[in-house]
């Protein structure tokens, strides 16, 4: 993740946790057919789940599929929610809102522990607003990732430069080639 996007996304999740009185929150970004945790706030060690891949299921899956925010009181035996893994025991309530405008890029998910009240319509509105802001940041992140050349593309470009200006680039090209060789 770019150094600019990370603190912005963390701040958005922290704000969402704060205004909705949630105990933990995560921002999950769609990557192919899975979700990846890209920001987190609240709980004892929210950062521990960064980079984790999760299936499109539970409330997060519903929200991404339906493009609508959702708030549910989770039955104790339902472990299909991402939030279920971040609390001691299953959450009492899960609120999720889609990030993005025309295209849903991810989901902001918030959870409350057993014993706390349900999320309200006000909470849904506030989370949705912050999820839209997160969507703009995720779009930037998505663009940035899309424009980064793959290692292979980078190596090919350097090899071309090494041919055109060997004095300047030959050493770099040899180093890169040896790295790829070591990877095989």
């Amino acid at each position: 993740m770019t150094s600019v996007a990370r603190p912005v996304l963390d701040a958005i999740v922290a704000a969402a946790v704060d205004v909705t009185a949630a105990s933990v929150g995560w921002l999950l970004m769609i990557d192919d057919e899975d979700l990846v945790v890209v920001a987190a706030a609240g709980g004892s060690d929210p950062q521990a789940r960064l980079g984790e891949r999760v299936a499109v299921s539970g409330v997060a899956g519903l929200v991404i599929s339906s493009e609508q925010a959702a708030a549910i009181d989770t039955p104790p035996s339902d472990t299909s929610n991402v939030g279920a893994g971040g609390l001691d025991g299953n959450p009492a309530g899960v609120l999720a809102a889609p990030c993005g405008d025309d295209d849903v890029l991810g989901v902001l998910e918030l959870a409350r522990p057993q014993g706390s009240g349900p999320f309200t319509v006000d909470d849904i509105e506030e989370a949705t607003l912050l999820a839209r802001v997160a969507g703009a940041a995720l779009a930037e992140l998505d663009d940035a990732l899309a424009t980064v050349p793959s290692p292979g593309e980078l190596a090919a470009g350097l090899e071309r430069l090494a041919v055109a200006a060997p004095a300047r680039y030959a050493v770099v090209a040899r180093l890169l080639a040896s790295l790829f060789e070591a990877d095989r």
Partner: protein, 287 residues
């Protein structure tokens, strides 16, 4: 003396039979659905699938008529026959409809939960199937924000309206674009603040036309369980259930008339009262 010239579509109004259509002042809840149970009405729930065995559904689901749509390799793929519910959402909507219109038959058209690719295409295919199959009431507790699909959904909703299928859609949970809930040919629904499932309101500021129970509602969910949940998704099936009751008692009513009956029987029309609005951001934006 010859008739005066008139446009080709003109008809002499005096000769048109409107059946036993009541006057506006005769439209009461008792007239509209008193004694009705939804018998004879077919309802399509276009959603994440339905757990037909859920105890709250009392075997109201027509399992063999279930259809599922997904997009694979860029093509919409149709699968006929029973399927599961990917999230619980479709079962929740079906349970609400059944609680209001217990004798109506419910059919699941699954368009959510079959992957993340081409959701709008699968959704459109599911809605088109429901209209082609002539369902009396169609519940859509979902929508798409994709502008590319706006015209396609507009066309199929108009076809439903003139073809006598009554589409009930959930408005987005916040004020933002969602198709087809913005169209006049559907009944778009948001939450009111009531606990009474049969007490609904007319929204004086469309495109959301009706407000029904949707806050902290106990609904059927996955694995035979129930949960409490909040959202316009759960308000729409309340209106779909009431529409099923009305169609059960008055099968000749067309969507335009059905909307009129809903307007006349809404709590704020009958009581000449204003409607409390849920959500502080929504209230602030309406100021």
């Amino acid at each position: 003396m010859s008739d005066p010239p008139r446009p080709a579509w003109t008809q002499a109004g005096e000769g048109l039979d409107v059946g036993d259509a009541p006057r506006l002042d005769e439209l009461t809840p008792e007239w509209a659905w008193g004694g009705a149970d939804g018998a004879g009405v077919r309802i399509a729930v276009i959603d994440s699938g339905i757990d037909a065995a859920h105890p709250r559904l009392d075997d109201c689901v027509d399992r063999d008529a279930a259809v599922s749509f997904a997009v694979r390799n860029g093509e919409v793929v149709r699968s006929d026959g029973p399927h599961d519910d990917s999230f619980g959402h479709g079962t929740a909507c079906a349970g609400i409809v059944h609680s209001i219109a217990p004798a109506a038959r419910v059919t699941s058209i699954k368009v959510l939960g079959n992957g993340l690719q081409g959701k709008a295409a699968a959704f459109h295919a599911g809605l088109t199937h429901a209209i082609d199959a002539g369902f009396d009431v169609v519940n859509l507790s979902l929508g798409t924000r994709k502008r590319d699909w706006a015209l396609a959904f507009h066309d199929v909703c108009d076809r439903a309206y003139f073809g006598n299928s009554f589409i009930v859609t959930a408005a987005n949970n916040v004020q933002r674009r969602s198709f087809p809930s913005l169209y006049a040919s559907v009944a778009s629904v948001a939450c009111n603040l009531d606990d009474d499932p049969l007490r609904f309101h007319v929204n004086p500021e469309p495109p959301t036309e009706f407000l029904a129970r949707g806050i902290d509602v106990e609904v059927a969910w996955l694995d035979g369980q129930t949960i409490r949940t909040t959202g316009n998704s759960y308000a729409a099936p309340h209106i779909a259930g009431i529409a099923a009751l009305i169609r059960s008692k008055h099968p000749g009513l067309r969507p335009f008339q059905l909307k009129t009956v809903l307007w006349a029987t809404a709590a704020n029309v009958r009581e000449r009262s204003s409607v409390p609005v849920a959500g502080k951001l929504t209230r602030a934006m309406n100021r």
